[in-house]
């Protein structure tokens, strides 16, 4: 790993460590070292540096909500906005705990995309009607409720 000012450049070993941690964040330094054929102290140093520089943001648990008995629905929202207000709307959306992801995209026009969760359809609708539709600059909203997931990657691969 090379650090020049604010810029961090990862080498092959860093990427391989990250890949293993994305698969299983509970692996010990020794286990990682043994898989990559390097000393555990090297793994420790690399991970420390990546944590310090924000390359590793956090370690989290991926819960199977169905097995945990949690009832909830997930929906994808496309929010058409006044372009002057889109940044503000995206920031406001990011503040709601019901909103898991917020991004903007451009096809024929700039839109904001959000992934939201709610206990049921009635609560989802109340949330959209009372918290999102009234935001200044919201022109219209399309919401699709997710009925089935075919793939869900908790980690993003390095392509």
């Amino acid at each position: 790993m090379k650090i020049k000012g604010q810029k961090v450049t990862l080498d092959e070993l860093d990427l391989r460590i990250l890949h293993l941690l994305q698969e299983n964040a509970k692996l010990t330094y020794t286990e990682i070292g043994s898989k990559l054929d390097v000393a555990h102290s090297t793994v420790y140093d690399r991970i420390q540096l990546m944590e310090e520089h924000g390359v590793i943001k956090k370690y989290k648990v991926v819960v199977d909500l169905e097995k945990a008995g949690v009832q909830q629905i997930m929906a994808l929202m496309t929010i058409h906005t006044d372009p002057k207000e889109s940044e503000h709307i995206a920031s406001k959306l990011a503040e709601f705990p019901e909103v898991l992801e917020v991004s903007s995209s451009f096809s024929e026009e700039l839109v904001i995309n959000a992934k939201v969760v709610a206990q049921d359809q009635a609560k989802l609708h109340s949330f959209v009607a009372q918290s999102i539709a009234p935001l200044p600059g919201v022109l219209r909203i399309r919401t699709s409720i997710i009925t089935k997931k075919y793939k869900e990657e908790a980690s993003q691969p390095f392509l």
Binding site: A75, M77, H80, Q121, L124, H125, V128, A129, Q130, I132, A133, P134, P136, V138, L139, R140, I141, R142, T143, I145
Partner: protein, 112 residues
């Protein structure tokens, strides 16, 4: 307790306005912040939106709880029970709201 006509006819805050949806989470971009504006929107919004909100009792709730007009809410409840759909629903709803608006405005004028 009777709600004054001026209160029913007021403009409400943006957060209290009525937002027209066509289905769960699908906002049309149309909203009404007063009974006057609500009447206007009845003519303009997608018919699906009127049917969606009527079936969920959203109109009655907003008119009774936010505007404070129990009488109009009751009239709309009657319309819901008649299971009117399509343009007949738009026409009937427009008639009920416009008639009530007219009465409220006349009543407000005479009370001055």
């Amino acid at each position: 307790m009777t709600v004054p006509q001026s209160r029913i006819l007021r403009n409400v805050l943006r957060e209290e306005a009525f937002y027209f949806f066509t289905s769960i989470g699908n906002y049309t971009g149309q909203s009404a912040a007063s009974l006057d504006e609500f009447l206007q929107k009845i003519k303009e919004v997608n018919i699906k939106s009127l049917e969606f909100h009527l079936s969920r009792e959203d109109f009655e709730k907003w008119i009774a709880q936010t505007l404070g007009d129990a009488k109009l809410a009751e009239d709309i409840k009657g319309l819901r029970n008649m299971k009117v759909v399509g343009n007949a629903l738009r026409d009937r709803l427009y008639f009920l709201v416009s008639r009530r608006l007219k009465d409220l405005k006349i009543s407000l004028e005479t009370s001055k």
